[in-house]
């Protein structure tokens, strides 16, 4: 890529997003907030995959792995939000502390 954008630019961008996602996961007690943090982390992983694919000579393996990550993120979001809604029906709250007992 022209203009002096190197692989390191993308790696640093991805690690900033990863750190923000980690911070979100650690600080939220809101279950949906935790899922949002996980989505940010998966996005940063995808940026890494595509950056290495681009600067590794334009092979497609990295892009295929990124598509698998997106697919698994969709499945994870569906299951996670279904669990959140089930918890909300049982406990009338989505505070993850409320569901720590594992008793229905």
């Amino acid at each position: 890529m022209g203009g002096g954008i190197t692989l390191n630019h993308f790696l640093v961008l991805s690690l900033i997003i990863f750190s923000l996602g980690l911070f979100t996961v650690l600080t939220r007690r809101n279950a949906i907030g935790i899922l949002m943090g996980v989505e940010l982390i998966l996005n940063s992983a995808n940026i890494n995959y595509l950056a290495f694919a681009f600067y590794g000579g334009g092979k497609y393996d990295g892009q295929i792995f990124a598509i698998f990550v997106i697919m698994l993120a969709a499945a994870e979001a569906v299951i996670g939000l279904a669990v959140v809604l089930a918890i909300y029906q049982n406990f009338k709250t989505i505070d993850v502390d409320a569901a720590e007992t594992l008793r229905g």
């Binding site: 890529m1 203009g3 002096g4 954008i5 390191n8 993308f10 790696l11 961008l13 690690l15 900033i16 997003i17 990863f18 750190s19 923000l20 996602g21 980690l22 911070f23 979100t24 650690l26 600080t27 939220r28 007690r29 809101n30 949906i32 907030g33 949002m36 943090g37 940010l40 996005n43 995808n46 940026i47 595509l50 694919a53 681009f54 600067y55 590794g56 000579g57 334009g58 497609y60 892009q63 295929i64 990124a66 598509i67 997106i70 697919m71 698994l72 969709a74 499945a75 979001a77 569906v78 299951i79 939000l81 279904a82 959140v84 809604l85 089930a86 909300y88 009338k92 709250t93 989505i94």
Partner: protein, 165 residues
């Protein structure tokens, strides 16, 4: 020069939105800030010559996951009541953990001499990715469809109302 401007604009959009997701006290603001983060990532993917992945991201993340998240936020009333802080890990320790992780990764990124292949001319990727999915990656591709089917059924089973006679 133009690539640099575009990269920094997209990076600012992505990081700014991600920061809003991380630091906003209102879950609804966080959800809508997630839109900016995903759109910025789409731009970054296009910058990395991954046109098909960018469109998949747009369809699945923005069109699917984000809408699903907004639905979940709206369906769970009183969602703003849950405090942003975590009793086990407060904001301070969380900043320390995330900061240490960031510094370690930054050190690793800066110290490593990455192998960089010769610059290539970007080409449309859809044809090659489609061939790879039905060639080298056919088994993971089929397993992925099973995973999605299991997720579909699992979500229905988990979230439906139990009606007992």
């Amino acid at each position: 020069m133009l690539a640099q401007v575009i990269f920094y604009a997209l990076a600012a959009l992505t990081v700014g939105s991600a920061a809003l997701v991380a630091f906003s006290r209102n879950i609804v603001y966080s959800t809508f800030a997630l839109l900016g983060a995903f759109m910025g990532a789409v731009g970054i993917y296009i910058l990395l010559a991954a046109d098909f992945v960018a469109m998949v991201q747009l369809l699945v993340y923005v069109g699917g996951i984000l809408v699903l998240t907004i639905f979940a936020v709206m369906l769970t009333a009183g969602i703003g009541d849950v405090k942003v802080s975590n009793r086990a890990v407060g904001t301070g320790p969380a900043i320390i953990v995330a900061g240490v992780a960031a510094i370690v990764m930054l050190y690793a990124v800066m110290r490593t001499q990455w192998h960089q292949a010769a610059v290539f001319t970007p080409a449309p990727t859809t044809y090659a990715i489609g061939n790879a999915f039905l060639g080298d990656y056919v088994l993971p591709f089929e397993v992925a469809s099973l995973v999605l089917l299991a997720a579909l059924i699992g979500a229905i089973v988990i979230s439906r109302h139990e009606v007992r006679e």
